[in-house]
Amino acid sequence: MAGVLTGEGQRVSRAAADVVRAEAAAVPVPPAVRRAPGRREGLTAFLFLSPTLLVFGVFVVFPILFSFYLSFQQWNLFADDHAFVGLANYGAVFSDPEFWQVFWNTTVYTVATVPLNMVLALGVAVLLERRVRGKRLLRAAFFTPVVVSSVAAGVIWRWVFDPNLGLANVALTAVGLPAVDWTANAAAAMAALIIVGVWKTFGINMVLFAAGLSAIPSHYYEAAAIDGARSWSQFRHITLPLLAPTTLFVLVLSMIGSFQVFDVVFVLTRGGPLGATKVLVYYLYEHAFKFFDMGYASAVAYLLFAVLFVLTLVQVRAFRNRGAVAV
């Protein structure tokens, strides 16, 4: 579907804008070269773009607009009737206690997953920067959870978190800790979801941090070493400040990703026990594709969009105000 690569897509959009800006400023195109293939360039360009424009028009541009329109409609797909209801869908969403429950669950998941994910990813990326044997193998190992499907990951981890025979409880009891009922205990189920979330995605951030680290000129470290700075102080005063743009990028993308978690929830906990791990997209899915209440579900989708948009702006501003990033 159109959204298959959206995760990756979102990853590039800001970088894209920077690149485009830089190019526009830096590389003037000689006019003679520009017109090489003749006058009908507009038509040729249109032909080259037409397959993409067609698919995008039908499955991206129209849906973005139509979804907004839908959010003001009472629209059941199979009842075949619809009516303008103003803000009633939004009102109904806000007055549904379950919405606030899933919003809270999603927030808890995001607030726990993102920092853990980032610390782990940065730690591993920094350690891998040093002289290490088997670097390729290690990096592949950390990246493996990223490439496998969330469904398979969910099934595997269900087995690991099986209350009776799962590896997690075997490990806990082996070191003298009490076994945990990962399926019936609300907090434990959320913890399990967070563990899987971090495990599944920290490899992406590791690669992004590694790319950021490799862009820091090594003579900064050499100079610091001559001045007698130890590794921690080098990390604190060179690595972290110079890595700030990458950190912002990783933070925004991890948050966007976490807020949209669905697959693992569906397979691992089914939102249970008693809705304790039900997340926003799960709620949206139920309203759209179980109850076919397209207007209501579109309102939820636009609220999700709005939340992500505002959070992104807030973070970009926070970084900019501290002078860390020239955005």
């Binding site: 590039v12 970088a15 995008f56 499955f59 099934v155 969009f305």
Partner: protein, 281 residues
């Protein structure tokens, strides 16, 4: 002990600690996969024995035959591979054509269009999902390969990735071809695409992985079992056989194996694809 040897001893200890930490973390990361594979080759009795064994004591492939007998995983496999291959090939064509237009052609509104195009990537997939489903419903395409394939036939990410790559290629090659009378299409096909193989490979690997692993969209648009993808089949299978860990692990091995193989063959392209998107930040 002199200062120099103390320093190098500390370095050696630091390096050993570094290795120990990294390898422990790596082992913990892949442990669930090892556990999946090992469980899939154990018999029922051994899976439910406590404390658990690591290595299968009685090696068996029954879980695989059971899983494939309980659900037509062969068919699911065909569906997943078919959809993933068609979408990947489709994206290579549509994205390279669009990317070439954005990278090299001059036409009115090009930059505005390109920004709008990139802007759509900001919108969560869940916003477009509902109307896309309705469109396919109106077209009578729900529960068909068309529903799984059509929305994936273009990609803003892919277009962007290829455009960035095309911009790095020297223009002189194309100019010579234009003088020889080649049209835009032949230039793209015969000059640009052969040079862009690394970027095309990265896009192909990413798209294939995305489509093969996709779950939510297949869950929404497919009802008949004949059209289930591997991921959908596994999720349904997990509901029906919720504690039959042997067959479930066999199914999970089946659902992860193609991607794991692809990853180990083309690791560079996976990591490059991620890094490329962040590098230019």
């Amino acid at each position: 002990m002199s200062a120099v040897t103390a320093h190098s001893a500390r370095r050696a200890a630091g390096s050993a600690g570094n290795h120990l930490l990294l390898y422990t973390l790596a082992l913990l990361t892949v442990a669930p996969f090892l556990w999946m594979v090992l469980t899939s080759f154990k018999d029922l009795q051994e899976i439910f024995s406590y404390p658990p064994t690591w290595w299968p004591e009685r090696f068996t492939t029954d879980n695989y035959t059971d899983a494939f007998a309980a659900a037509p995983f062969g068919r699911f496999y065909f569906n997943s591979l078919f959809v993933a291959v068609v979408v990947t090939l489709g994206q290579l064509v549509t994205c390279s054509m669009a990317a070439y237009a954005f990278a090299r052609m001059q036409f009115r509104g090009r930059d505005v269009l390109f920004y709008l195009f990139l802007g759509t990537m900001m919108v969560p997939a869940h916003v477009t999902m509902i109307p896309s489903f309705m469109i396919l419903h109106w077209l009578g395409l729900i529960d068909s390969y068309g529903a799984l394939i059509l929305p994936g036939l273009a990609s803003a990410f892919g277009t962007f990735l290829l455009r960035q790559f095309f911009l790095t290629l020297p223009k002189e090659l194309e100019e010579a071809a234009f003088i020889d009378g080649c049209g835009r299409f032949r230039v793209l096909w015969q000059i640009i695409l052969p040079l862009a193989r690394p970027a095309l490979a990265t896009l192909a690997v990413f798209t294939f992985m995305g489509v093969f692993n996709d779950f939510l969209w297949a869950l929404i648009v497919v009802n008949s079992q004949e059209l289930y993808t591997v991921q959908l089949g596994l999720a349904i299978f997990r509901d029906r056989y919720s504690t039959e860990w042997g067959p479930l692990m066999a199914g999970s091995v089946a659902a992860t194996l193609p991607i794991l193989i692809l990853f180990f063959v083309a690791q560079k392209h996976f990591i490059q694809g991620i890094a490329l998107s962040g590098l230019k930040d």
